[in-house]
Each structure stands twice: as C-alpha cells, then as structure tokens.
C-alpha cells in the first residue's frame, strides 16, 4: 500500500492517490492537502462544502452532485467554482457504478477516466481526498 506525506502526516493511499482509511482523515490533513492543491487556507466556506459532502456521503453512500450541493447543501455553484478553482465536484451520479472512492476535487486539465491513464501519468497525481 503506497503512502504519502502531507506536512508531516503520513497516510495510506491507493494507487489513484485517494485515502484508503477513513480513520486517518483529520482536519489538519485536509488543510495540508489543500495547501498542496493551491488553496492557502480552508475558510469556513470551504468547510461548509466539505462537511456537507461528508454528511451526505455518510447518509446516502454516494457523493452529491453540484446541483444537490446547491439545492440541499446551500452552496451556490458559482461560489463552489470560486472556492475550489479549476476543479469542481466530479459528478458522482454521472457514474452509474458509483465509486466508493470519493473523488472529491479533480483538477480540470488532467481529469480523465480510468486507472490506466492515471497510472501512466508519473509524478504526483493526488487529488483532494477528504475522506476515504
């Protein structure tokens, strides 16, 4: 099992870079990952999104869509794009075999389907994975 260190915190990840152990997730870790993804500080607005994702995922077993974040979570889509530039939510409902791995934020330019493509890209490919 590969590991990855964010700001001194070592966590287990799968070969796609997602956290495999939910118990290893902490707020500090989230902040560290965010820093790596170019978000200097997670503001209360960011946390509102993250907490809704976690809560909704726990309840429904699937990540919410952008529309659901807006309608149920109360996060306007424009704000979502401003909060997480370049990588809004992937639409989990678009994937009928909804992945258990929570793809949360994916940078747009390198977003692609398939393990193979991701494996082929060398170097860091860790997307935001707030919880496993």
């Amino acid at each position: 099992m590969p590991t990855k260190t964010f700001a001194g915190l070592t966590v287990e990840v799968n070969d796609e870079g997602y956290l495999t152990d939910r118990a290893q997730w902490t707020k500090e870790l989230a902040q560290a990952i965010a820093l790596e993804e170019g978000i200097a500080e997670l503001t209360p607005a960011h946390w509102k999104v993250i907490e809704f994702l976690q809560q909704d995922y726990a309840e429904r077993g699937a990540l919410p869509s952008i529309r659901r974040l807006n309608a149920v979570g109360g996060v306007p889509t424009k704000d979502l794009y401003n909060l997480f530039p370049g990588g809004p939510l992937k639409k989990p409902r678009a994937l009928p075999a909804c992945p258990n791995r929570p793809v949360v934020f994916e940078p747009q330019e390198e977003a692609s389907y398939g393990r193979k493509q991701r494996k082929n890209q060398k170097g860091f490919n860790y997307r935001f994975a707030w919880f496993a």
């Binding site: 992937k90 747009q108 977003a111 389907y113």
Partner: protein, 411 residues
C-alpha cells in the same frame, strides 16, 4: 378486493401491468394504471427521427394496445401521492386508495432548469431530441440546414439513455456525409463528463471513435447558461462555446408530481433501495425505471430487467416473505455509430462494459463493445421486439434480467 395501483403507463408501468395481471389472483386483486396521456412513444426511436431514418408516426401507438384485459386504465393527470395515507389524488379530484403502489412516472427533460435555454431560438436554432416534438422539429430544420457549427450539448447528469448524445453526434456525421456537406459542418460534443461516457473502458473506445470521425469534444463543461441571442453556451469555469445549431439534452428531472408529493430528491427522483426497488420511506411503495434515484442507467433495458425482478419481489411482499435483493443494476444498450454500424454494451452496478459476446457466451452472435453491422440490425430489430414482446411482458429468448459474466473479458 385489494388494490394495486401503478402510476405511469410508460415502458416500466406497462410491463408491470402485463406481468402482474398473470401473477396476481384477479378475484383478490384489482390492478389499475394511471397515465395522463393516451399515446405510447417508442422513445429509442426519437434518435432516428431528425435524420429521417424513422418517420414520426412510426414511434407512436395507443397505450391501450399494450395494456392487458383485467387492468383498469385511468387516463387522468396525477395531482398528488399521499403515501402516508395510501392514497393518490387525481386532477379531477378522484381519490384512489391502494394497498400497493408502483411508481413508474419516469423522467422528462426540464429545459427551464438550464438558465436561458428557452429564452431565444427554442426550436429555431436550439433543439432537443428527447421529445417527439423536439425530434420532429429538428428533422425539419436539418432538411434545409446549410451547415455551420453544430453543437451537441449535454447540460447535466444523470440523463435518460446516457449514450444518446454520442449516437446523435455519430449519426449527424453520417447524415452530413451522405448529403455531401460534412466539410461544411463543424461537429462538437460538449459534456460535463471528462470523456465520452461514464465508464472507463467504453470511454476509451468511444473517445477514439470521436477523433476518427472528426467530432470535437469539450469535456468538464458544467453549463452555467445559454445565450440564444449571442448563440453561445457558457460554463461555470468560464469556458464558452459558440454554435449555429444547438442540439441540447437539457437537465432531466423526475415527474413534477413527485415534487408536489414531497417524495423526491433535488431532481424529483424517488429514493429507492438499489437491490429490491422498495421505496426507502414507505414499505408498500415500489419504484422502477427512470423514476428511481438508483445509480443505474436510465434506460428501457433497465426498466425491463427491473420489471421481471420486481414482479417476483412483489409476490414475496404480498405473501409476507422477505424481499430478495435481486436487482444488480443490469443495463444493456446499443450505441448507434453511423454508416450502418453500432456497438452493444452490457453492464451492471459492479461490472463496466467490456468486450465479449452477447447473448450467448463465445457464440454471440452479437459482439460487445465492438462496432459491427449486426449490432446495427439488432438496434433496428429492437423496435419490433419492444412493441411485440417487451411491453407485453413476454420473455425475450436468452436475455436474462441479471447480468451474465460468462463470455465477458472482465479484468
């Protein structure tokens, strides 16, 4: 007399009526089915209408042709479902009581949910092909269109038949070739997905095919608004795509009656157990087809497989036995790719579409995830099967409700 009530006489509801009328003792059970419309549309045929392959009247039949004797058809809009008191209220005020309710109200396009979509040029430069009206209007438009930028646009997922936008693009490529004007048409597919389709292995195959056919693809495009005057669509991330002719698949949403009754999620889909099809909130309410919130494709084949399994589960429910978690998310669909060829894919919740043979392992005769002429003939023959076997609940030889893994190259 106990009452079994089916809401919606589309593909799912009609099949349930046909299955149940044979299984339930008619001395104890009265089966009723409610639908506001009299015409049954063969929805897979809408794809072919814009290109003149089917004529509009070939996809319409009266609903009553497919409803068996012994089923009471009520043609009336549904006002509200009162699930906590086991009642359904119709538009004219009639109150129907039920012991078991089956919701099969399906999904519709909701163009008004995409900002600006219907403001200017609707059915002039902006068309849908998910309705009979849209497909027919588009057929007229294409007949004397002189070329330019044709954008096939997918607003948001999930949609009914996720491959239809691709099929439309492939058929458009073929259609303009045939009319010797392909070089005057710039074809672009705009999608919120990161590739052509939702599943990795088919996406790889289909992306390749798009490139071969010189169809541009704009991915990760989450539509913010459409400006019909400037003829442009804009995404939240600031991308913009211009068009001369926009063929859009607007947001799809469940029937408004689900929202009025407080039974749905943000897109009016009813929360449903993904294996038993029982509603999550009411134990005597079952949901099938496009009306559910299941992570399965919204497609006729799914409703077909669900109908067979739900019938068994309803009998379990009536006889006081536990429900069996039988539905596996099985879906099966043809992808028309133009020039008389098509793909066939077969998948479920766990297994994505892969290569192999269908319906018989090794023998086939159909090839999975490959472009063949036989698959195209299969797609055309399906209309006959739909009208004559599928809707009437007659088993289709060798096609099983649960997906078979035999003969599939699963990694």
């Amino acid at each position: 007399m106990k009452q079994l009530l089916i809401l919606g006489a589309g593909t799912g509801g009609t099949m349930m009526a046909n299955h149940l009328v044979r299984k339930l003792d008619q001395r104890n059970w009265q089966i009723s089915i409610v639908d506001e419309f009299a015409t049954h549309y063969y929805q897979p045929g809408f794809l072919f209408i814009p290109f003149g392959i089917y004529q509009p009247d070939q996809v319409m039949r009266p609903k009553t042709d497919f409803l068996p004797k012994g089923v009471n058809f009520i043609q009336q809009p549904i006002e509200e479902i009162k699930a906590s008191s086991n009642q359904v209220v119709l538009r004219d005020g009639t109150i129907l009581n039920y012991d078991i309710l089956i919701i099969a109200t399906g999904v519709k396009i909701a163009p008004e949910m995409v900002a600006g979509l219907t403001d200017s040029g609707w059915h002039e430069q902006v068309f849908d092909f998910y309705t009979w009206e849209g497909a027919t209007a588009l057929a007229k438009k294409l007949q004397d269109w002189q070329g330019g930028k044709l954008v096939v646009h997918l607003a948001e997922l999930p949609i009914k038949c996720p491959v239809a936008p691709l099929e439309f693009a492939f058929l458009a490529d073929w259609y303009f070739h045939k009319r010797r004007m392909r070089d005057q048409v710039e074809l672009t597919l705009v999608t919120p997905l990161s590739g052509a389709f939702t599943k990795p292995r088919s996406t790889a195959v289909l992306n390749h095919l798009l490139a071969d056919k010189n169809i541009h693809i704009v991915t990760d495009f989450y539509t913010e608004r459409v400006d019909g005057t400037a003829r442009k669509i804009y995404s939240y991330a600031g991308q913009e795509v211009g068009y001369d002719l926009l063929v859009t698949i607007p947001t799809n949403a469940g029937d408004p009656v689900i929202a009025r009754s407080g039974l749905g999620d943000e897109l009016n889909y009813v929360p449903t157990d993904k294996y038993t099809l029982q509603s999550k909130n009411f134990e005597n309410v079952f949901v099938l087809g496009d009306a559910t919130d299941l992570p399965a494709s919204k497609a006729g084949s799914v409703a077909h497989f669900q109908a067979e399994l739900l019938t068994e589960n309803l009998l379990n429910f009536i006889n006081g036995k536990p429900l069996e978690p039988t539905f596996d998310g099985h879906a099966n669909c043809f992808i028309e790719s133009g020039f008389g060829k098509a793909f066939l894919i077969d998948f479920n919740y766990e297994v994505e579409p892969v290569e192999g043979r269908f319906p018989l392992p090794i023998i086939g005769p159909m090839a999975l995830l490959k472009e063949t002429r036989l698959n195209h003939w299969g797609k055309l023959a399906f209309k006959f099967i739909y009208w004559n076997l599928l809707l009437r609940g007659i088993p289709i030889p060798m096609i099983t409700a649960r997906m078979s893994k035999l003969g599939k190259k699963i990694k």
